[in-house]
């Protein structure tokens, strides 16, 4: 319970820092809106099955935004040496990881919602299906994205390859998430019954829980300086 409280405190600290500077969030928002705009002007929608396409684009845009933004969860503290102080606190490495991931998840969730609304608006989808169902798909999907982005963001942070390494490490793991996420979203947009959506959602939950456990256990090996 105490670990959870510390995790929450770290998450709140990160979110407060993010709201004060706003640079990472602003960059992610700009990236998502501009990508949605670019997709809608560059694709000839008259000859495409738009609903299936939008589902794929929402998840791809989120994936790229996570790679660009969420992978930088440690940058600010790393640059001014504050992360060393976080490590010196009597908080377990697992709790630090969960806190960082929770803060990242808030950003990823926000960005996913934005991508969804921007793309459905720009591509003129007037009835996107029940929003609660979309939320039920986005929740486990964004947890998986946030966990993987945060964990490998820490790994690539130390690499001389920097940002080039992050997609190489995260994409192979996140392709199933994007695939099942896009499948579920497109089925909701096509107004299919929940029975056809629950399978992909179960996979997304399995990935979210599995990666969160693996990340929490393994984080201590990548946390120390």
């Amino acid at each position: 319970m105490r670990e959870l409280r510390w995790g929450c405190m770290i998450a709140l600290k990160d979110l407060r820092l993010e709201l004060r500077s706003g640079s990472r969030l602003l960059a992610m928002i700009a990236f998502v809106v501009l990508s949605a705009l670019l997709f809608s002007v560059s694709l000839n929608l008259a000859h495409l099955e738009v609903r299936g396409l939008v589902a794929g684009l929402v998840w791809l845009t989120t994936l790229f935004a996570v790679t660009a933004g969420a992978g930088r969860a440690f940058d600010t503290e790393e640059n001014d040496g504050a992360f060393r102080h976080v490590l010196l606190t009597p908080v377990s490495r697992g709790a630090i990881f969960l806190g960082k991931t929770a803060a990242n998840w808030v950003l990823v969730w926000f960005v996913t919602m934005l991508a969804f609304f921007a793309l459905t608006t720009f591509m003129e989808i007037r009835s996107p299906g029940p929003l609660a169902w979309h939320g039920a798909v986005f929740l486990p999907g964004t947890i998986g994205l946030a966990v993987t982005g945060t964990f490998f963001g820490r790994v690539s942070n130390h690499s001389t390859l920097g940002d080039t390494l992050l997609p190489v490490l995260t994409f192979p793991l996140l392709v199933p998430v994007v695939f099942f996420g896009a499948t579920a979203t497109s089925r909701i947009l096509l107004e299919r019954p929940w029975l056809e959506i629950s399978g992909p959602v179960r996979f997304l939950w399995a990935f979210a829980v599995g990666s969160a456990v693996a990340g929490t256990v393994l984080f201590r090996h990548v946390a120390d300086e």
Binding site: S159, L165, L169, A214, L218
Partner: protein, 234 residues
């Protein structure tokens, strides 16, 4: 095991493996019956399946050795992980090139985005990332630790690949050897497959042993040079 023994064992295993693979090739070309529905192209099966088995054996070993390295911090476990990962990438490349050649005739296309194919390609890229992480850290010890973490994280994909054939609609055929009711393969086909499997496995274990001894020797040499130049142990 000392390095000399590892080298001798490696040479022996690799030699027996090469002989077994040559015998398997002879069987594939001159002995095994031609499969009725796919014809002669099905003979790629005797290369593709053993290559796939060896790849998963290698990547499984990488995950286990990496876990041991993270837990015990023993350099020998890391050397074993590197040796297995290199083998996994090589045999994985054989699997990923022989598969499309077979698929072109069997399925009418070189590549299709079906679950097992896709997940296996992604696994191969994960272990490519393993080497990128190792090579891109300024501190080699950190590189080893981070790479071990990537290997353990990436290994979560292996059970998913195994069950993907039965979980998802897949073009990949169901298992024909390891089944509750026993193998359903023609006995001559089974004999050829097992010879090839044995050959690939022995070749991998031989190369693994040789590579492990080279890696271990090179680390000892580096440590000795460091000691000589600084007067302290690394």
């Amino acid at each position: 095991m000392n390095l000399r023994k590892a080298r001798v064992a490696g040479l022996l295993l690799a030699s027996v493996g090469v002989v077994a693979i040559l015998v398997a090739h002879w069987m594939v070309v001159f002995w095994v019956p031609t499969e009725a529905s796919m014809g002669v192209v099905q003979r790629i099966f005797y290369i593709h399946v053993p290559a796939a088995w060896t790849t998963f054996l290698a990547f499984g070993l990488v995950a286990l050795a990496s876990l041991a390295y993270l837990w015990l911090g023993d350099d020998r476990a890391d050397a074993a992980a590197v040796a297995a990962a290199e083998g996994g990438l090589v045999f994985g490349a054989i699997m990923l090139t022989s598969g499309p050649l077979w698929a072109r005739v069997a399925w009418g296309t070189y590549w299709t985005w079906e679950p097992r194919l896709t997940l296996t390609l992604l696994l191969w890229f994960t272990y490519l990332g393993y080497f990128l992480v190792r090579g891109s850290m300024a501190d080699p010890r950190k590189g080893r630790r981070f790479a071990a973490v990537v290997a353990v994280f990436g290994s979560l994909n292996i059970p998913l690949i195994h069950v993907s054939v039965s979980w998802f609609r897949s073009l990949h055929p169901e298992a024909v050897v390891i089944k509750p009711e026993g193998p359903t393969l023609h006995p001559d086909m089974l004999a050829t497959l097992l010879t090839s499997l044995g050959g690939f496995t022995l070749l991998f274990l031989g190369l693994f042993s040789l590579r492990y001894s080279v890696e271990h020797a090179s680390r000892r040499l580096q440590a000795a040079r460091f000691r000589e130049s600084t007067g302290v142990s690394p």
